[in-house]
């Protein structure tokens, strides 16, 4: 029983990171129908920036989060200007997919040059001693991840629903022309969505790094799994990414425990391909009608 609880708890912590990254895809997809194939690399850059801020500059964990957020915002602007905006003009899906892939490998190579190819330990702000209750041992960082991810997602949802700027973002997502007729600067809102999405990715890096290790290769797989989560949940649905993230996090923990650690990455992808075949719009996605 405690074994099960243990698995569930670490599955949830992992799942929240996936959900957070996928939430970032969700934001840009809603405003521009594009997702950033470099999101995992942005997470990695956030983690490494955070590491430098926390360890080298001795700014502490809060400083690391802040530094990562700043870097994330900058990356978002670069991404939108260099990879997305030109592709949106030519309306070519191939272009933006490949362009964000290109940014991703550039980011990874740059990280290797700056921080080296070795993985580094990221000191956990609340220590590495597990807390125990009901016989379940929990790392404080796991609780921090769950709490912070929930905070960020609900914060963004609150912004979307309560502030007029958030409402404007939702309006752009629903109907660009109608939003422009309301006096909303649509291109600016799209840039903003990339800034927000990239900042979330970078901050996720600082959250997850103490649980894994920080290094140039940490992002690729996380990012890819988060695509799976975003698509499984339905690219337009906030609830969908949460459910999808938890589903994946739990399935990985269970596979690792009961099948083999080597195969822990596969169930998510198999699930992804299966869901795509059965319901291409995702679990919580809306079916769209093609207009001819």
């Amino acid at each position: 029983m405690t074994d099960l609880l243990q698995l569930i708890l670490s599955g949830v912590a992992l799942g929240m990171i996936y959900a957070l990254l996928a939430f970032g895809y969700n934001i840009t997809f809603s405003t521009s129908r594009t997702i950033n194939f470099a999101q995992g690399e942005f997470l990695m850059l956030g983690a490494l920036t955070g590491l430098t801020a926390a360890v080298t500059w001795k700014l502490g964990y809060a400083g690391a989060l802040f530094a990562a957020a700043i870097v994330g915002c900058l990356l978002g602007v670069v991404l939108e200007k260099a990879a997305i905006a030109p592709a949106l003009k030519t309306r070519s899906a191939v272009s933006w997919i490949l362009a964000t892939v290109a940014l991703g490998i550039i980011a990874r190579n740059a990280a290797e040059r700056i921080w080296g190819t070795d993985d580094a330990r990221f000191p956990a702000p609340l220590g590495d001693d597990p807390l125990t209750f009901l016989g379940v041992r929990v790392l404080p960082q796991e609780l921090l991840v769950i709490g912070a991810a929930a905070l960020i997602m609900s914060g963004v949802e609150l912004f979307r629903r309560k502030s007029i700027w958030g409402k404007a973002v939702t309006a752009v997502a629903a109907d660009k022309d109608a939003a422009a007729l309301m006096g909303i600067n649509v291109p600016l809102v799209i840039t903003f969505s990339f800034v927000l999405s990239s900042a979330i990715a970078a901050v996720s890096g600082v959250l997850v790094a103490p649980l894994t290790l920080a290094g140039a290769t940490m992002g690729t797989l996380l990012g890819t799994k988060a695509y799976a989560v975003a698509i499984v949940g339905g690219l337009q649905s906030g609830l969908g990414v949460l459910v999808g993230g938890l589903l994946l996090g739990l399935s990985e923990q269970f596979t690792a425990r009961y099948v083999s650690t080597g195969y822990k990455d596969t169930p998510g992808f198999v699930l992804l391909i299966f869901i795509l075949l059965v319901k291409p719009s995702g679990l919580f996605g809306k079916k769209s009608i093609k207009k001819v």
Binding site: T34, I35, F37, A82, A83, P86, A87, A93, V94, S95, I97, L98, A99, V101, A102, L103, G104, I105, I106, R108, N109, A110, E112, R113, T220, L221, T224, Y227, A228, I231, S260, G262, Y263, D265, T266, F269, V270, L272, I273, L276, L277, P280, I289, K290, V292
Partner: protein
């Protein structure tokens, strides 16, 4: 390709066979040149998927791995000779390609890209974990010597095997791409709906393109294991899939020369600069971004612009219009239903989107050989009706009976094959293809030769192509576009695009042509031409369903007019009756129409 250039390419290709005589340095011949050849085989296959079919695959390293491991396991554990092992590798690649292609039937763009990434990662994981077969992270070593009887292909001699195979692969890709298969891939890429409505099975060709591409990747994998005599899981990373894409895009898609140049760059660059390895990904990433936005078409595109314009004569050189004057053939009706009953009838046809009933209980009858107009205010359900008749939408209830047979869950492809062809309200041509090729896509149903006919250019394949071209020219002459045959469709003025759509529809030998607002956006002169065309179609025994807002046109050419409002039929009859019908007048002019006009 001009003859001189073609000779030059052939001479150059032959000359490269003698590379090992120029330098015997095993590093250049065995490692670099062989690797380039193997990459070219794979990238040429990738080009079919990305360049011709327009889908992004970031999972080709997985297919490459499937081929490499199949060959390696068979030669080391089952002691198969090279040739059967290589054939098995090709087959295994093709099988994996089928798996990768199934998602492509329903997905596109980012969804498909993500599923190909997932596919690649799954393959890599399996290779790592299935230790009994693959030796896991250790990899398979001690690949035996590659010999054919007295010949051995070890060391630099490997080049004599991979280079000719590369040339053959390029030739195969070239032949497929320039055949009706290639046109089907491109048509599906440019407009999936229009391609299916022109009689192309998305199911068949989307799967085919992935299978063909994967077979080449499997071959490349089987050859690859003989470079290092070793195969291990780290080779087949996501990065390798991305590297293949970079080679393809930088070299230039849809170009054999581009495939070769791209692979040369990604293999040779890291070798030329010593410290390059450290900055390899950054450089390639930058190269990819640069190509995408500054150099669309890649290196091959650059060369194409630098060289004198390629002759476009090949579209017209072979055949003139055929004897049948118009190229129109009305399909013979088969069996007992010929001439019996109405051509098309809908029975209580209904479709609802969410809560909105767009077409409600529609009974529409089209008689053989008549021009039937469907009119109504905006949003009255006309285009939805067209989409229901052509299989683009499935009705919520009710059914369509055509030629005495009900359509059951008919796909647009099946509808086209049964004899209904259509045009689109917002012109859906294949813009990057030529005018002639657009009509050839409509003639897809006249090709019966299989893949082998295409690969070996059999007399049958040549004859079918020649016949189709001459019929396409006749059809173009019929709509007055024959002089524009080699133009790209998207460069045509709007009115001519509408005519080209009609020619493409006629190419399908339909019994019923559905014209969805053929006169929208046309000048009055052009409308008169459409008017004349409809009259000629009717004279040849074709039935026409005309959706149109230009009432002058509707009233002058139609035998019957049906009026829709709010998705329901409010009137049907001859034009003069319709113009007097109160319900019609109210639907078009507003309820007070009579009162206001009567004040006059």
């Amino acid at each position: 390709m001009p003859r001189a250039l073609r000779t030059l390419v052939l001479v150059a290709a032959a000359a490269f066979l003698f590379l090992p005589f120029v330098t015997q340095n095993p590093y250049y011949v065995h490692s670099v040149a062989c690797k380039v050849c193997i990459y070219v085989i794979l990238v040429a296959g990738l080009d079919l998927v990305v360049g011709y079919s327009g889908d992004v695959s970031v999972g080709h390293a997985g297919l490459y791995a499937a081929g490499a491991y199949t060959a390696a396991i068979l030669v080391t554990k089952a002691h198969w000779p090279f040739l059967p092992a290589a054939l098995a590798a090709i087959a295994m690649g093709a099988l994996f390609g089928l798996l990768l292609g199934v998602p492509a039937l329903r997905l596109s763009g980012p969804y498909l890209a993500v599923s190909t990434i997932a596919f690649g990662l799954i393959v890599q994981t399996v290779v790592n974990e299935a230790e009994k077969l693959t030796e896991g992270s250790l990899g398979i070593q001690n690949i035996p010597k590659l010999t054919f009887g007295r010949w051995n292909f070890e060391g630099n001699n490997l080049y004599y095997l991979v280079y000719p195979l590369m040339l053959l692969s390029l030739l195969a890709v070239h032949r497929v791409a320039t055949s009706y298969w290639g046109r089907a891939f491109e048509a599906l890429k440019e407009s999936s709906i229009a391609a299916e409505c022109s009689g192309i099975s998305r199911y068949r060709y989307k799967l085919s393109v992935f299978v063909l591409s994967a077979a080449l990747a499997g071959l490349a994998g089987a050859l690859f294991i003989h470079i290092d005599k070793y195969v291990g899981p780290t080779t087949f990373s996501l990065q390798l899939s991305i590297l293949f894409l970079i080679a393809l895009i930088f070299g230039g898609t849809r170009s054999l020369l581009g495939n070769v140049l791209g692979c040369l760059v990604v293999v040779v660059l890291p070798d030329v600069f010593n410290r390059f390895a450290d900055y390899q990904l950054m450089t390639f990433g930058a190269l990819l971004l640069f190509t995408l936005y500054v150099l669309p078409g890649g290196l091959a595109g650059l060369l194409r612009r630098a060289l004198p314009a390629r002759a476009t004569a090949h579209t017209t050189e072979e055949a003139g219009p055929d004897g049948s004057e118009t190229g129109i053939r009305v399909r013979k009706e088969d069996g007992a239903d010929a001439d019996a009953g109405d051509l098309l009838a809908t029975e209580r046809l209904t479709i609802a989107f969410g809560g909105l009933v767009a077409v409600n209980g529609l009974d529409l009858v089209i008689r053989r050989g008549e021009v039937h107009a469907l009119i109504g205010p905006n949003g009255s359900g006309k285009s939805t009706t067209v989409n229901l008749l052509t299989g683009v939408y499935r009705p919520t209830s009710g059914r369509v009976v055509f030629g005495g047979r009900p359509f059951q869950n008919a796909s647009p492809f099946a509808v086209s094959r049964s004899g209904i062809a259509r045009t689109f309200q917002n012109v859906a041509l294949f813009g990057d293809m030529t005018v002639l090729e657009n009509v050839l896509v409509g003639l897809h149903h006249t090709f019966h030769g299989g893949l082998l006919d295409v690969l070996f250019r059999t007399p049958r394949a040549k004859r079918e192509e020649k016949d189709a071209r001459s019929r396409a020219l006749s059809l173009l002459a019929f709509v007055g576009l024959d002089s524009l045959a080699p133009e790209r469709a998207r460069n045509l003025p709007y009115g001519k695009q509408r005519l080209l759509e009609i020619a493409r529809a006629l190419a399908q030998d339909p019994r019923l042509v559905v014209l969805d607002e053929p006169a929208a956006g046309l000048t009055s002169g052009e409308i008169a031409a459409v008017d004349g065309l409809i009259v000629k179609l009717k004279a040849r025994g074709l039935a026409v369903l005309l959706i149109e807002h230009h009432m002058d046109l509707v009233m002058s050419v139609s035998d019957t007019v049906t009026v829709l409002d709010f998705g329901e039929k409010i009137a049907t009859g001859i034009p003069a009756e319709i113009q007097k019908d109160d319900r019609v007048i109210n639907a078009y002019l507003g309820t007070d129409a009579h009162a206001m006009a009567a004040d006059a």
